[in-house]
């Protein structure tokens, strides 16, 4: 869409539509990541690209099915699409498995993040707003969770329930509840001191309204800044579990599982481990970089307000 064309349509619209369009354009302008360094911009674009490729993997022309052999066993990388990262011990395309593995990983990690955010924000708001017993309980939970090694917790859970995508998601979702709760609690406590919360109460707002409509919107920047690094942590945890064989069940591709598979052959085919490792390293790096970028923007915002 050219700017000139947009301008023409808005002038033709009745005033309220025109205002709507102006709001849209302001929103798009804000999406241009102001004050991002080249690496941060690269990270953002990489993540957007990763999501798009994972989402539309079925429509990439020429990409073979990740679960069926496509060529020689353990073929070294070459300059064809499916052979870019080589083939694994069963002759499957590693690139295809990395892409479908990305889809699996992103779905699991996103769902787990939603679970831990919803539970964590809920608990954190109770703790920060009502303090007292609620705070002690949530603190105890958060400290307990952070003092146990995550892999141990998950191994305990998975050995009871068995491995499946669902249990994987749920167990990963439990891991970060404490962290989100603690961050939310701190935010609620600091916002609660501000006069606008007092003003809302003076106007007759109930607890729910104060928490959800007054305080929560002001926590959004802080919370979004911690999401990417925590997601990165989940990707690593998911990778290590798959590596240990407690991840997603066998035929489905997963990054950790692929690394585990290629370590058997690493002395003879060292190049084949690069695909999944590159995927994990780049994704985790990009998520952490985006996290830093968002955190810095929160800082700038806070200073402006």
């Amino acid at each position: 869409m050219t700017p000139g064309k947009t301008h023409d349509t808005t002038t033709a619209l009745p005033p309220h539509r025109a205002e709507l369009a102006r709001g849209w354009r302001a929103g798009i302008a804000r999406m241009r990541f102001p004050q991002s360094s080249p690496l941060e911009a690269f990270s953002i674009l990489f993540l957007i690209g990763l999501v798009l490729i994972a989402a539309f993997a079925d429509f990439i022309p020429g990409l073979v099915n990740p679960n069926f052999p496509y060529g020689d066993f353990s073929a070294p990388p070459n300059w064809t699409l499916n052979g870019l990262f080589g083939t694994d011990g069963l002759g499957r395309s590693i690139l295809s498995r990395v892409i479908y593995g990305a889809r699996q990983t992103l779905i699991i990690v996103t769902a787990a993040t939603v679970i831990s955010m919803v539970c964590g924000i809920f608990l954190g708001m109770l703790a920060g707003y009502f303090r007292g017993f609620a705070e002690h309980g949530v603190d105890l939970f958060a400290n307990t969770m952070s003092s146990l090694p995550p892999v141990l917790i998950i191994l305990a859970l998975v050995s009871v329930t068995g491995t499946s995508v669902l249990t994987m998601t749920l167990t990963l979702g439990i891991l970060d509840i404490g962290t989100y709760a603690r961050i939310t609690k701190g935010g609620v406590i600091s916002q609660n001191d501000r006069d606008y919360v007092l003003a809302a109460r003076a106007l007759g707002a109930g607890h729910g309204r104060v928490l959800l409509r007054e305080i929560l919107p002001n926590l959004v920047p802080t919370l979004t800044a911690v999401v990417p690094p925590l997601m990165a942590g989940l990707i690593i945890t998911e990778g290590s579990l798959s590596f240990l064989g407690f991840g997603i069940p066998a035929p489905a591709p997963s990054w950790g599982g692929m690394i585990a598979g290629s370590t058997d052959l690493i002395s003879r085919f060292p190049l084949l481990i690069f695909g999944p490792i590159l995927a994990i390293v780049l994704t985790v790096y990009a998520l952490n970089t985006v996290g830093d970028f968002l955190a810095r923007r929160v800082d700038i915002r806070e200073r402006q307000l």
Binding site: R131, L198, A202, L203, G204
Partner: protein, 326 residues
Amino acid sequence: MTAPLLHVRNLSVTFPRGRQSFKAVDDVSIDLGPTEALGLVGESGSGKTTIGRAVLRLLPFAERNVSGEIDFHGRPLTAAKAAELKAFRAQAQMVFQDPVSSFNPRRRIEEIVAEGLRIQGVGKTEIAERVDTALAEVGMSRSMVEGRRPHQFSGGQCQRIAIARALALRPEMLVCDEPVASLDVSVQARVLNLLRDMRRARSLAMIFISHDLAVVRSICDRIAVLYMGRIVEIGDVRQIFERPAHPYTRTLLDAVPVPDARAKVVPSPERAVRASRLEEEGGCAFRTRCPFAQDICARVRPELATTPLGQQAACHFPLPAAAVPA
């Protein structure tokens, strides 16, 4: 005297400070008439703000310890249920010291002004109407504020919007907590005039908290002087300003800077020191700074009593008339 709108008896508020506790308000009793403006005056930490918030039931519920009675329209507020409290919210409103921080930075002004009405369940068309009226009353209009957020307005404008937000609910009582302290002097006058006009037009009762004696004098009918959480003197504006009975009030009035560059202000060191609030002690809290302190002041805590001058003061040795040079 007509029945008071607000009736406060033996209000005490303590905040926990680790093992100890901090008595922010100590046994305060106040009556506020239906159209009266009462000033609460005192130095930082004297309990002014805490009284204002306690009266509106706005203290942080996690760490407060409130005792005493607060009646509004003869009904006990301390025992009010949620629905009753919500109705009370429409009748008693507050204006804060820092207008910018009293607005949610993520809201638009028209939402902020309408918020109270929306919470109270007023219909949509009436909300629009009352928001327009309230904005007009503070010298603003919908077209000036529409779509804007608090940080786009100056402190004075924000304070006027805050007053509009409070008045949109048509309250009977307004608690103003240092409403002009964070504003430029030129803007202060405008906001003060606005508050005075509003008070007259709507026959509002007002509790006006300030450390600025001139401001209080310009707007209030009665003044309560607070020292360390207790009322040390309460009386009409004229009584307090012209013939203070309590030595602390006298100190406050003496501390008002005189617009004379040659005049030297020499605070006597011992009278500038305050005792710790954490240790509970008998006697008059002001005695360590009081030039007239005697043995009895350390032993017996003075109660509020009517002085020969007409106002009430909590002092064993109230000052005689005409103690302050004009």
